[in-house]
């Protein structure tokens, strides 16, 4: 396998693992909790490196690092339950504190070791091809592929196995509890997987940019569809496209790979925001213009219904404060629908228009 392929494959695995979980984070309004988790695993990772002797962290130690993510979730939830501070403030209180501890530890004890602040920021996915996994004297290929492959598979299994429960507890936690689905346990399972994914992806994309993979593709998909399975599929797709395009861009500009992947994901989000047939700004605008026209026409009908005589255009304009162009649009639509008729003295209702004006909207 060439180095390019390995890097792109790693990125796609990171984005897939993230998008699967991220879809539920977005729907459960826990997007910022994942931000907190991704920051908070840093002290855990530092500790894991320290426990494993500073050169490379062992798998067990990394599992421990994921526990730091869970600790954050627990702390935030506990703090907001005390009613002393609001939930968002609780998040903003916990993760900077933990992250500060991590940064302090890195700058005190790990100067020039295998963990530096650049890696914390944007990972070292470019080195993915060179860190290989060896076992039983065999070279098993790049370590990152193994780690992220396992995580992607784990997350996929979780979503497939608990799809029904996740869906129910996402939309109606109360009902899920009443049906005995233990939404609490599911919540912590999801948070554990997010923590694990954040730790696993740390080496590739860093602590902060993992949020881009967890949140942006699902948020993009959210704007494109209202069906959950479609949303998850689209999120995975958007993540993969961002990975490939981001890599190409990074090579062209000689810039951070993870940073450019997040940038492309952001651009895809912007495209969905502008053009999505479901929620896009531009389709919504033309839809709204059409609705406004029809709405104005109905107002016009109601107004004309109050009068037995044709109403001069000037009077209508004064009454509603519309521009002549807007009235012309509304009038055109209503005339095409056969609801009003022009008259030398102004506008009047047709028989059909009179019937419609009498109806409740």
């Amino acid at each position: 396998m060439s180095a390019d392929v390995i890097i792109i494959l790693t990125a796609i695995l990171v984005s897939t693992a993230s998008a699967l979980l991220g879809s539920f984070l977005v729907l459960r309004r826990m997007a910022l909790m994942s931000d907190a988790i991704s920051h908070a695993v840093l002290p855990g990772i530092v500790l894991a490196f320290w426990v494993s002797g500073g050169e490379r962290a062992t798998a067990v130690a990394l599992l421990g690092a994921a526990a730091a993510g869970l600790l954050t979730v627990t702390l935030v939830e506990w703090l907001s339950r005390t009613n002393r501070i609001k939930n968002d403030a609780a998040i903003g209180l916990v993760f900077p504190a933990l992250f500060s501890l991590g940064v302090l530890a890195v700058s005190l004890y790990f100067r020039n070791v295998h963990l530096d602040l650049d890696a914390v920021l944007y990972g070292e996915i470019a080195y993915a091809p060179f860190n290989t996994l060896e076992a039983f004297g065999l070279n098993l290929g790049p370590e990152s592929l193994w780690i992220m492959g396992t995580l992607a598979l784990l997350n996929l299994l979780f979503v497939l196995l608990f799809y029904k429960e996740l869906k129910l507890s996402t939309f109606d936690a109360g009902l899920a509890a009443a049906l005995g689905f233990a939404p609490g346990a599911l919540h912590y399972a999801l948070m554990s997987l997010v923590s694990l994914t954040a730790v696993g992806a740390f080496q590739s994309v860093g602590a902060i940019l993992i949020v881009a993979f967890l949140i942006i593709p699902p948020a993009t998909a959210y704007l494109l569809t209202q069906r959950l399975p479609v949303m998850i599929g689209l999120a995975v797709l958007v993540g993969a496209v961002s990975s490939v395009a981001g890599y190409v861009l990074a090579i062209l500009l000689d810039a951070s790979i993870a940073g450019m992947m997040a940038t492309v994901a952001g651009l895809l989000f912007a495209l969905a925001w502008l053009f999505s047939p479901v929620d896009g700004v531009i389709p919504a605008r033309s839809r709204r213009a059409r609705q406004q026209r029809e709405f104005a026409a109905r107002l016009l009908l109601a107004h004309l219904a109050h009068h037995d005589r044709p109403v001069p255009v000037r009077e209508v304009l004064e009454e509603f404060g519309w521009s002549p162009a807007f009235l012309a649009q509304a009038q055109q639509w209503a005339q095409r629908e056969g609801l009003i008729a022009g008259d030398p003295h102004g506008l009047r209702l047709t028989a059909r228009g009179a019937v419609l004006a009498g109806e409740r909207p």
């Binding site: 709204r288 709405f295 107002l299 109601a302 107004h303 409740r360 909207p361």
Partner: protein
């Protein structure tokens, strides 16, 4: 400046234009109209209820009239003038649930907010304003709670603080959004007392209300609303089984 009104519904006896006159008011959120072609004249010096089912647009009517949501069409006049000219003479009591009661402030402070409009930009309230706010608190029976943090007040007391804030504005026209929702008997009594006192001083009070059983006892004037105005006028004329049926549909009956 007071302009003569053109409304044919307007009572010819009074010399002053009505406190509130709404013509052809239509409001739409997204595509659905929430209020449709509302015509409404509120007579001076009366206690007026706006009643209708959930989602009928009662609160929206208040907000649209006060310029807090955009209107698709229609005109609103207060004492024959546009909103900007009379803003300071209009008191608004929002729903209690619309604010965070854990906000770090006390009852007196909230009432003082009623005087912010009169103070204008940059100026801070002083001793005179404080005394005025205390008087408003006394009126609703909460003088002893002036320094109490607002979270430590009961729901009814919180509602009365809101009422005191509107009183401090010393307005001619009051709008209250569901003041009787979820309050205790003492508060209900206190609100009623204040309303009657206001009426005694010639003020006009418009209340969004949803308890049909008390409408007859509390109010003089009734507007039945369900997107459109179903009926509006003196209570004895509008509070009829037929009108209620038209407002609420078949299942609602008088008195229950």
């Amino acid at each position: 400046m007071i302009r003569p009104t053109t409304s044919d519904q307007f009572s010819p006896i009074s010399l002053r234009p009505a406190p509130l006159e709404v013509r052809d008011l239509t409001v739409a959120y997204r595509e659905k109209p929430v209020l449709w072609d509302v015509d409404l004249v509120i007579p001076e010096g009366q206690l007026c209820a706006i009643v209708g089912p959930n989602g009928a647009g009662k609160s929206t009517l208040l907000k649209a009239v006060l310029g807090m949501v955009p209107r698709a069409s229609g005109t609103v006049q207060f004492f024959g003038q546009p909103l900007q000219a009379v803003r300071r003479h209009i008191g608004y009591v929002p729903q209690r649930s619309s604010v965070d009661w854990d906000f770090p402030t006390n009852a007196l402070d909230v009432v003082l907010m009623g005087l912010y409009g009169r103070l204008g930009w940059f100026r801070r309230p002083g001793r005179a304003e404080r005394e005025e706010a205390m008087r408003a608190l006394e009126q609703v029976g909460l003088a002893a709670f002036a320094q109490r943090q607002i979270a430590q007040l009961s729901g009814g007391q919180q509602q009365r603080v809101f009422l005191a804030r509107a009183l401090a504005q010393n307005s001619d026209l009051y709008f209250m959004d569901e003041p009787f929702a979820g309050v205790d008997a003492v508060t209900e009594e206190a609100i009623l007392q204040v309303m009657h006192e206001l009426k005694g001083r010639g003020k006009t009070v418009v209340v969004v209300h949803h308890d049909l059983e008390t409408v007859r006892d509390y109010f003089d004037h009734l507007t039945l609303l369900n997107v459109q105005v179903i009926a509006s006028g003196p209570l004895e004329q509008t509070f009829t089984a037929e009108n209620l049926k038209a407002t609420y549909g078949e299942r609602m009956s008088l008195g229950r």
